[in-house]
Amino acid sequence: MRERFLRKLIHGTLPLLVWAAHFAGSYVLVAAQCSPAGFAPGSPHRLPLALMTIVALAICAALAWRARRTLGGGDEHTALLDWAAALTALLAFAGIAWTSVPLWFVETCA
């Protein structure tokens, strides 16, 4: 497609895709470690989850930084998908940070 529709669509929703990947990764990692087959003493290990969270937050912060001009107000010519990328970078950052709060105080599977 000459408009590069898919590329622009992914650009506009990339922060939310990062949020989705982080959520799915966290859920699957913990569910696998807490399943009958995967359970071991000390499960779930929180270090890989914390690392994953830091990487996801860093990506969202970088995306928000890249979109700082749009966040600063933009103008009437700013494309909608650029606005979406900027706004969702903030939303995804907050979402990832908030979703990871349980890592601080939940230590066990049960």
């Binding site: 807490c34 087959a37 909608l80 706004l87 979402g95 349980p102 939940v106 599977c109």
Partner: protein, 838 residues
């Protein structure tokens, strides 16, 4: 200082040719009498769809009143426990599957063509098929109540209650086959909406200028594509368990009832937003009109819609907080459940700010929107309460949840839909509903709703569980229940008053529609069967406010496509982002075929359930014949190769490959397909992870040479199809299609032989059953290819595959390659899982 700018020239000049309008009217004329049933015009189908959905709303409402009558006093014997089970199951099921989802799609199918400035959406026959499948299947499904055969396991049908052991009758089968079938109809509607919104907007209507309602429907349709496959996979698994004794959900045979809950709620929670977001889109469209000012934070609201779409997929497990999931996983879901309040609040604040900035006229839609805000915000607040784990453990399965879900759904969806009915009903005959009656209807509905459902919060906190058919007097719940019952009847009186006024208004003579609310969106342009006389050039997000004289220009034929170029039905396909005209899209005419195909499909599923096999197969064959006839007549060489759609713009007729709307529709269908497959893979992984040893004792996998041989054959088939796609007009084309068919069938036979030799017995335990489900799903695809290959060959031999009519070939090739990939993914998933678990 002001700068004077010369107004841009209009696309088509006056005067128009004398017979232009007559030809346009002839091409689009709606058939009368019995032949009205052949109509495929989305505006007509939309009206039928809305009417049918409202009928189901009334029927399910009557069931709700029966429940409230039963619960009005303690120890009531009006209904037996068994009847009550059927009634509450049907109330929930019909409201969710036959009213809520259909009415949001129905309103979209009715409103969007005009709102986008299209003559029609790109697949009108598909819409007609989806409607008839829903109407016929839904009515037959509802009639099971009269024979005591209605499902009785609750609207979310949890096994083991709904397994064969505890539900041996046909009741559960009706739910599984009936609802599964209606889901397919909803997906067909979603494909129509996505492709329609992306490809048939008026020239100049960029994504930024697209109405927020269209944005909401685009987001919702995408959500349907990813959410509904989970329930389709779930219903298929449960029906296979019931029919073939494959124990997916039977714990003592290695299955897991929690698997159903995951699959159901992975659909069920996004479903709440699938219902709410269209309503939010309608609210975002109505509020600027009511306030007389553009929507505040329009771009933020669109961003929030997209964010809700993503967040809503992480919330499924909050319906399972008492199912024994791990504490940390539940905490993630709890946090995500609270996070979704942020984008939802962005929308609510946008609406409040718009109302604040504008000047509100308290018309009927405004009243219902105010009611929506009040009720929905309360429902949202209790939503945040039940997102908190300890509170949910207390409130789960009590009337607190019944109160919460009704505040969210009635507040978030029913009130906006009534506002929408008041707002858009004048489009039908130009008559507005009575403002005086509307005030009565609103206060009866608003008051009745709160009297009915607010006390349920307290009843729930006092411990009354959901779904009990009666309760003893000493529990102290009688007063609250009586109040709820009185409220329910007051609510019903409000709905009846609305209906009375609607019927009275629709019986009045037709008058000019005009723009009664001074709205800014295109559906208020003068419109006939062919939609607008010419397709407007859009330069603003609020075209009717910012483009003075647009209605007169469009009516005079001064914009694009003021007539019919080919003599038939057509619209302009535009690019998805900038809304630039790409090609003339020729649309199909009215036909009996969608109705026959839908009736045949519904008959096949429903009659098979009651074991009327011969008639069922007759219906199935009728459906196949109608569908093949329908397909055979489409994708023909266009009557012209180029079309002049304005004074200066000449467009090609039709498009090929990825520029074609049908190519995109096929891709979206394959995404649905892949998501169903992923759900089956999830079932396999979930069941595997419950094992101590994988494969379990007494089960084994075929040697690697079998999947490798099958994969090679599938790849050979895809290779043949690739070659076929380059062989248009060559004699080898049909032979390549047949060779590809042979490869696909042989690949599947190799798979079957491999699993047979390995001794896979699906009845022995759930692990083998999940593999059998995956293999069966691949088998279903091979059956489709076995029909598609010879069909392609027949089209080639009859001269119907040409460079300008090659969509059938391109789209079949896509399905072919997908099946190859799915076969390889299946083998990888099945063989890698035991290695990962070692």
């Amino acid at each position: 200082m002001t700068t004077m700018t010369k107004p841009a020239a209009l696309p088509s000049s006056l005067p128009r040719p004398p017979d232009e309008l007559a030809r346009l009217e002839k091409a689009w004329r709606t058939p009368s009498g019995l032949r009205f049933l052949t109509t495929v015009n989305n505006t007509n189908i939309g009206l039928l769809y809305i009417g049918t959905a409202l009928l189901f709303f009334l029927l399910a409402g009557i069931l709700g009143l029966m429940m409230r009558t039963q619960l009005a006093v303690p120890d009531n014997t009006l209904l037996s426990a068994g009847s009550y089970n059927q009634i509450f199951t049907m109330h929930g099921t019909v409201m969710m599957f036959l009213f809520a989802i259909p009415i949001v799609e129905a309103l979209a199918v009715y409103l969007l063509p005009n709102m986008l400035g299209a003559r029609d959406l790109p697949f009108p026959r598909l819409s007609a098929y989806a409607y008839w499948a829903y109407a016929i299947g839904g009515l037959a499904f509802f009639c099971t109540l009269f024979f005591g055969l209605a499902p009785d396991g609750g609207w979310f049908m949890y096994p083991p209650l709904t397994g064969k052991q505890y539900s041996p009758g046909l009741n559960a089968d009706f739910w599984l086959l009936g609802i599964g079938f209606i889901e397919i109809s909803a997906i067909a509607g979603a494909i129509e909406l996505i492709v329609g919104i992306l490809f048939t907007r008026a020239p100049g209507m960029t994504l930024s200028r697209m109405p927020v309602y269209a944005w909401a429907m685009l987001v919702v349709a995408v959500m349907i594509v990813f959410a509904f496959p989970a329930i389709i996979a779930g219903t298929a698994l449960l029906e296979m368990e019931r029919a073939f004794d494959w124990p997916f959900f039977i714990a003592e045979r290695g299955g897991d009832p929690i698997l159903w809950q995951h699959l159901f709620w992975f659909f069920g929670h996004p479903e709440v937003y699938i219902i709410f977001l269209p309503a939010a889109g309608m609210v975002s469209t109505m509020i600027p009109t009511i306030a007389g000012t553009p929507l505040v934070g329009r771009r933020a609201i669109i961003g929030a819609l997209v964010a809700v779409c993503f967040f809503s997929f992480a919330l499924w497990a909050h319906h399972m907080f008492t199912a024994g999931l791990g504490l940390m996983t539940m905490s993630f879901v709890s946090a995500a459940s609270m996070a979704v309040a942020v984008p939802t609040a962005i929308q609510v604040f946008g609406w409040i700010a718009t109302l604040w900035r504008g000047k509100i006229t308290m018309t009927a839609p405004a009243l219902f929107l105010a009611g929506f805000m009040f009720i929905f915000v309360l429902g949202g607040l209790t939503g945040v309460m039940v997102a908190v784990l300890p509170f949910d453990w207390q409130a789960h399965d009590t009337y607190f949840i019944v109160a919460h879900l009704h505040y969210v759904l009635v507040g978030g969806m029913v009130f906006p839909v009534f506002a929408a009915l008041y707002y858009w009903l004048p489009l039908i005959k130009g008559q507005r509903l009575s403002e005086r009656v509307a005030k009565w209807a609103f206060w009866l509905m608003f008051g009745g709703f709160n009297i009915a459902f607010f006390p349920m919060h307290v009843t729930g906190l006092l411990g009354m569980p959901r779904r009990v058919y009666t309760y003893p007097a000493e529990m102290g719940w009688d007063g609250l229940n009586m109040a709820s019952t009185v409220g329910a009847f007051v609510l019903a009186a409000g709905v009846l008053l609305f209906l009375f006024d609607a019927v009275r208004t629709l019986r009045r003579p037709q008058q000019a529609v005009g723009n009664p609310w001074n709205a800014s969106t295109l559906e208020w342009l003068p419109s006939e069967d062919y939609a607008t006389r010419s397709i407007p050039h859009v330069r603003s997000a609020d075209p009717l406010w910012d483009q003075p004289g647009l209605a007169e220009q469009v009516e005079a034929g001064q914009h694009y496509l003021p007539g019919t170029v080919s003599g038939g039905r057509e619209t302009i396909a535009t690019s998805p982002i900038a809304g630039k005209p790409l090609y003339l899209l020729v649309l199909p005419d009215d036909s009996w075929l969608p109705l026959v195909a839908a009736a045949g499909t519904a008959g096949f599923f429903l009659l098979l359930t009651v074991k009327m096999n011969l008639t069922a197969w007759a219906c199935g064959i009728a459906a196949i014949v109608a569908t093949v006839t329908w397909l055979w007549g489409s994708d023909t060489t266009p009557p012209i190769s180029e079309a002049r759609v304005s004074d200066t713009l000449v467009l090609p007729v039709g498009a090929r490959g990825s520029a074609s709307h049908s190519w995109w529709a096929t891709v979206i269908m394959l995404v649905v397909d892949a998501t169903i497959f992923a759900s089956f893979v999830f079932a396999y992984i979930h069941i595997s992870m419950r094992l101590e040893v994988c494969p379990p004792p007494s089960a084994s996998l075929p040697a690697l040479r079998w999947p490798m041989m099958s994969g090679a054959l599938l790849a050979a088939g895809s290779g043949a199809m690739l070659w076929a796609a380059r062989s248009i007009g060559k004699r080898r084309l049909p032979w390549l299609a047949l060779a590809a068919t042979g490869c696909a069938v042989a690949a599947f036979l190799v798979d079957l032989a491999g699993y047979g030799l390995a001794g896979l017995t699906p009845r022995s335990q759930a692990w083998s059953a999940t593999i059998a489900a995956l293999v069966s799903y691949q088998g279903l695809h091979v059956i489709v290819l076995a029909l598609a290959g010879p069909y392609l060959a027949a089209r080639a031999w009859s001269g119907r595959l040409t460079p300008s009519s090659r969509a059938t070939l391109d789209n079949t090739a896509l399905i072919w390659h997908y099946t190859t990939l799915q076969g390889v993914a299946l083998a990888l998933a099945v063989h890698l899982m035991p290695l990962l678990m070692e």
